[in-house]
């Protein structure tokens, strides 16, 4: 008989609620959940077809171990024993663990506890490093916390929405709907992007700039706001500090509209109009995503945005705030759960000895936990794994496919080949699995219970609709069973995800007042939720920032010339982004028929004038070269893009990462864009 199970969509960070229609143990369709405050009974194409990959024939069904160079199927006992034996051979500095922003909070918490308690290492990270690390760092420095400040329904109440570095209508369509709602009640929408995207079509003011010049635009707008006296003086004096240094920076001649217009390709009038709209709006909000944080100047970009919102007093009220749109269904949760090398759950530094002792006491491992020292991040782990001596010998990957997602594919390939032991847990046999020694079959979102935390900090309930294929298991259960086998059954007594959630509320401060029953209700709960009778917090910083003195900190940032500028050998700037049909590496969406029917191969968008220069026609195969590598691809000639720029969707196995590279220095955010490339027709390409 037909049955409908409400759960959370497995794709972007919006966290839409979707009903899976189940008949005889198979999911046959979806309907949107009308009761959800996030999507109010509406879904995007990915959400509509989010059930289509679940019953794919090629799901991993049994554990695989590599024997004599080939994979053979085995049972859980054999796999667990092999993993336990190999991991015990390594010391704490020789292992690395990658968690996943696509798994539940319970999966991530169990894995975090496994890394810190069983393996005694802080070498623990996940792919948020590659996208929103800049948001976490930048916003923490400005406000004291790194999360989105307002809630999704709140965006629709704004008078003026400024969106940059995000193609919201394609990447977070149900947040795009809030822009429509704001506009229908008279709000204005300003959009800055190098491309005329579906989001740009709806803009009241479109600033088409060269990617990488965000800080210049933001400083220019701030300068104009101050020159016209539109800044919120009361907010600045009561709730912020370091205003003078900001004023000095943004009022420099180089940030006057004339100069910035020349630099960014946006007309002076438009810059002035943007400043006026933002400066005079009662409630203004900023939406941004990876277009801003996904590159090496990311932290500066994020701080510049924080500056703008503090300058105009647009923090802590409905319809205002800095809204960082997270890209994955549980990237917020994975960070909250402490799957990062420097923080315990709830963003308590691992180096804080008081908290370190507290966690040690709660967990009660007989042989202690990882030392109070920051571990290696994802880039450092792979770099160290590739070394000859003193290297990382074993890695445990849960739901990550770094061979495709890491910016420098060559480096990662070298690293994983160099590993003595690699365990990968995933739902499909990904490219990274090819290099693994043990592959574990995991349950997907529709096959497990648990909780996920969306971009607006709302903790919501995942509900099991069907059984996993074969003998696949949810990740929390795999980790729990493995920990028990390694002798820590007292520390991992979990029988159900609700047991883990109960422990999370004792360790993770923002989740303190939540119960599994409460987050199972359709509204979920936004953290921080300090006590059981607390309704959750939809808007952060209503009366104070999270710095000890309660004030927000202005931090002037200077625009820096992008690391790469076009020259005669690499004349085009390459930018990347998502398309609405696919998600990340496409492991799930490319197995969904209706999505794959829309777009099934990678392509590169080129402006007609540029196409003429390099002599290519629509549909031709072209070769794209960067300083790091090259690829060939089909070309689409579209007038929507700025001349001198080319665009490629950041999906499809390992295409883009051949062109991009790892950051040049330090544990910085990885550089995905903008990079410079050359384009040439591919001879003999049909």
């Amino acid at each position: 008989m037909l049955n409908q199970i409400p759960t959370i969509c497995p794709y972007c960070g919006t966290g839409c609620s979707v009903n899976l229609i189940v008949q005889d143990g198979k999911i046959i369709g979806t309907t949107p959940n009308i009761r959800s405050p996030v999507n109010e009974g509406k879904l995007c194409p990915k959400g509509t077809y989010c059930h289509q990959f679940v019953h794919s024939m090629d799901r991993l069904k049994k554990p695989l171990i590599r024997k004599g160079g080939v994979f053979i199927e085995t049972d859980w006992e054999t796999a667990y024993h092999l993993i336990a034996k190999k991991l015990k051979e390594c010391n704490a500095g020789e292992v690395g663990v990658l968690a996943s922003a696509r798994c539940s909070n319970e999966d991530n918490y169990a894995l975090m506890k496994f890394a810190r308690g069983v393996l005694k290492t802080n070498n623990l990270d996940h792919c948020a490093r590659l996208c929103h690390e800049a948001t976490m760092t930048g916003l923490s420095l400005s406000f004291g916390n790194g999360a989105m400040t307002n809630s999704i329904p709140d965006i629709g109440k704004s008078d003026c929405i400024f969106c940059l570095g995000s193609n919201t209508f394609e990447q977070h369509p149900l947040i795009g709907r809030q822009i429509v709602r704001a506009q229908s009640s008279g709000g204005k929408f300003i959009y800055a992007d190098p491309r005329y995207t579906p989001t740009a079509i709806q803009a009241d003011l479109f600033l088409q700039f060269y990617s990488g010049s965000d800080v210049a635009v933001l400083n220019c707008i701030m300068g104009e706001i101050i020159r016209n006296g539109w800044e919120n003086k009361e907010f600045i004096s009561l709730r912020t500090r370091e205003y003078d240094s900001l004023k000095k920076t943004v009022l420099q001649t180089k940030y006057t509209p004339g100069e910035v217009s020349f630099l960014t390709g946006v007309s002076e009038e438009d810059l002035l109009r943007a400043a006026e709209w933002i400066g005079t709006a009662d409630k203004c909000t900023v939406l941004y995503a990876m277009g801003l944080s996904h590159l090496s100047g990311g932290i500066s970009n994020v701080r510049a945005i924080a500056n703008l919102m503090m300058l105009t007093g647009n923090i802590g009220r409905p319809g205002t705030g800095v809204n960082a749109l997270r890209g994955q269904n549980n990237v917020q949760g994975a960070c909250d759960m402490g799957c990062i090398p420097n923080f315990f759950p709830g963003y308590q530094p691992v180096t804080d000895s008081t908290f370190h002792r507290k966690i040690g006491r709660i967990w009660n491992f007989p042989d202690g936990i990882a030392p109070a020292r920051t571990g290696l991040d994802i880039n450092q782990m792979f770099r160290k794994a590739g070394m000859k001596h003193d290297n990382i010998k074993a890695m445990v990957l849960v739901g990550e496919n770094p061979l495709v997602t890491e910016p420098d594919q060559n480096m990662v390939e070298h690293a994983v080949k160099n590993l003595e032991f690699l365990v990968v847990s995933d739902i499909f046999f990904t490219k990274t699995c090819e290099y693994a020694h043990v592959v574990l079959p995991a349950a997907c979102y529709a096959e497990k219970d648990g909780t996920v935390t969306n971009t607006e900090r709302r903790v919501q309930r995942l509900c099991k609709a069907v059984d996993p294929p074969g003998i696949a298991k949810p990740d929390w259960q795999i980790i729990t069973e493995l920990a028990c086998l390694m002798g820590y059954s007292d520390q991992f007594p979990y029988k159900d995800p609700s047991d883990i959630f109960r422990e999370i509320t004792t360790v993770c401060e923002p989740y303190k007042g939540m119960t599994f029953e409460q987050v199972s209700l359709p509204d979920g709960i936004c953290w921080p939720c300090p006590s059981p009778d607390h309704p959750g917090t939809a808007i952060l910083y209503t009366d104070r920032f999270y710095h000890p003195d309660g004030k927000g900190v202005f931090c002037p940032v200077e625009w820096k010339i992008p690391a790469e500028l076009p020259d005669s050998s690499y004349p085009f700037r390459l930018t990347s982004g998502r398309v609405i049909w696919h998600w990340h590496t496409g492991t799930m969406t490319r197995r969904s028929k209706n999505l794959n029917d829309e777009v099934q191969e990678a392509y590169i968008e080129v402006h007609p004038a540029d196409a003429e220069k390099v002599r290519v026609a629509d549909g031709d195969m072209i070769r794209v070269r960067s300083r790091k590598g090259q690829l060939s691809c089909k070309v689409r000639i579209v007038p929507d893009i700025k001349e001198g720029m080319i665009f490629m969707p950041s999906l499809f196995d390992a295409a883009l990462s051949r062109l991009t590279g790892a950051p040049s220095a330090g544990p910085e955010v990885s550089e995905y864009r903008p990079i410079c490339v050359a384009v040439e027709p591919l001879p003999g390409g049909d």
Binding site: M1, L2, G41, F169, V180, I580, E598
Partner: protein, 421 residues
């Protein structure tokens, strides 16, 4: 028994107290299932809370009580579930509790040979409209000043919205809250079928007064089958019936007339906004420029049931484009508009709040005047446009189907050859 208008309630005291309006519908469903007159019942039950209706297919009498109580939030189309159940279990006999839009959809599906009227027992409900769950919660929080989670009932009575929480009852005239943007769904505001007489019987509160008002249901019998089932249920001891008095019958027609007048006015106002000719086309193009091609309108539409959808033919709608070309919407209009029953599901589910249902309904209204086809009603002519059926194409345009496909798949320059052929 031979009358057409009755007051009724459940003969079981427990059900009479717990279900809405004396529990007549619950008692009737119990009778249908326990006497095996139907195999399954399709109804709504309460999900997580008052604002969360969920469709269920019930096969055992024990589960029926879970569906007791009325729900005014969220318009779930039960017709979809009836069709799903019939397709999965051909020949199944189903009783369904339906609103006006459900009933009209079911008739459109019967005309399309997807459902068999003889296998269905339709219990209609008087319906003055439904509300968006999330907006209703905001309304209760912001306008009523109440906690939505502690509200006991939220309903429409005599043109007023009534919210009850413990001892507190607050009432608001419908027009007032509609002006504030918290009103019924737009489609409900245009509805012309508050009493779905296509059904076997229609139940509701209109026509109740005095001591009956909270403890009984007004039943109007519309078919002989309805009368049989009703008297059967009374004989089995599931329900109690007394003939309705003239005062009740008159009150009922007054409410119906009032509802129809409001809808008529709303229809005129809303259709006027869509303009005509180029103006309307421009408006449609502007609104649909937000479309993200999520296909929810198509999935939600109970009549959008072609096996091979024309919008997926690359020569008509180029795949992978957002927003999709206007042709996408034109195909939907040309396939559905003649039969659109204004259920509003497409608009409810539109991720970008495009007024798709208004567009479709405005077109339908004009087509009805031109061709005289009445969607959702049993009487009158059979369906006019069986779009996308090969036989129909052959009937109108002879053996030119393949030629047409070639025309669309070739470049413009080549079309000359085809003409010459």
């Amino acid at each position: 028994m031979s009358g057409r208008m009755w007051y009724g309630w459940s003969a079981n005291d427990n059900i009479r107290e717990t279900a809405a309006s004396g529990g007549l519908v619950t008692g009737l469903l119990l009778s249908l299932l326990s006497s095996e007159m139907v195999d399954a019942v399709c109804a709504l039950k309460r999900g997580d809370d008052l604002y969360d209706p969920r469709p269920v297919l019930v096969t055992s009498p024990e589960e029926i009580q879970e569906c007791a109580g009325s729900m005014f939030c969220g318009s779930i189309l039960t017709a979809d579930w009836v069709l799903g159940a019939v397709e999965a279990n051909p020949g199944i006999k189903i009783a369904s509790v339906v609103k006006g839009c459900d009933a009209k959809v079911i008739y459109e599906l019967i005309k399309r040979n997807k459902l068999d009227r003889d296998d269905l027992f339709l219990i209609g409900l008087n319906c003055s409209g439904t509300f968006s769950p999330v907006q209703t919660r905001t309304f209760i929080r912001e306008v009523c000043g109440m906690n939505p989670d502690s509200v006991d009932s939220f309903l429409i009575r005599d043109g007023r919205v009534v919210v009850r929480s413990g001892d507190i009852t607050k009432e608001y005239p419908l027009e007032n809250i509609e002006e504030r943007g918290f009103g019924r769904r737009d489609s409900c505001r245009r509805c012309d079928t508050p009493i779905p007489r296509q059904c076997d019987i229609v139940c509701g509160t209109w026509g109740l007064y005095g001591e009956n008002s909270d403890r009984a249901t007004f039943v109007e019998v519309c078919t002989d089958k309805g009368l049989d089932f009703l008297s059967q249920a009374e004989k089995n001891g599931h329900i109690t019936l007394v003939p309705a008095d003239q005062g009740g019958v008159k009150a009922r027609s007054r409410v119906e007339a009032a509802m129809l007048t409001i809808s008529e006015k709303n229809r005129k106002e809303m259709f006027a906004k869509t303009g005509s000719g180029m103006e309307r086309l421009t408006w449609i193009m502007e609104e649909t420029s937000r479309c993200i091609k999520c296909y929810q309108c198509s999935h939600a539409c109970p009549l959008c049931i072609c096996q091979y959808c024309q919008t997926k033919k690359p020569w008509l709608v180029k795949p992978g484009e957002v927003p999709p070309p206007l042709m996408f919407h034109l195909i939907r209009f040309s396939h559905i508009a003649d039969s659109c029953v204004n259920c509003g599901q497409c608009e409810d589910r539109c991720a970008m709040d495009i007024p798709v249902s208004l567009m479709m309904h405005a077109l339908q209204d004009e087509l009805e005047k031109m061709f005289g086809y009445h969607p959702g009603r049993p009487e009158g002519m059979p369906i006019l446009a069986k779009v996308n059926q090969h036989e129909e194409w052959e009937h109108h345009y002879e053996n030119s189907y393949q030629k047409m496909i070639r025309l669309f798949s070739q470049k413009v320059a080549d079309t000359e050859d085809i003409k010459e052929e």
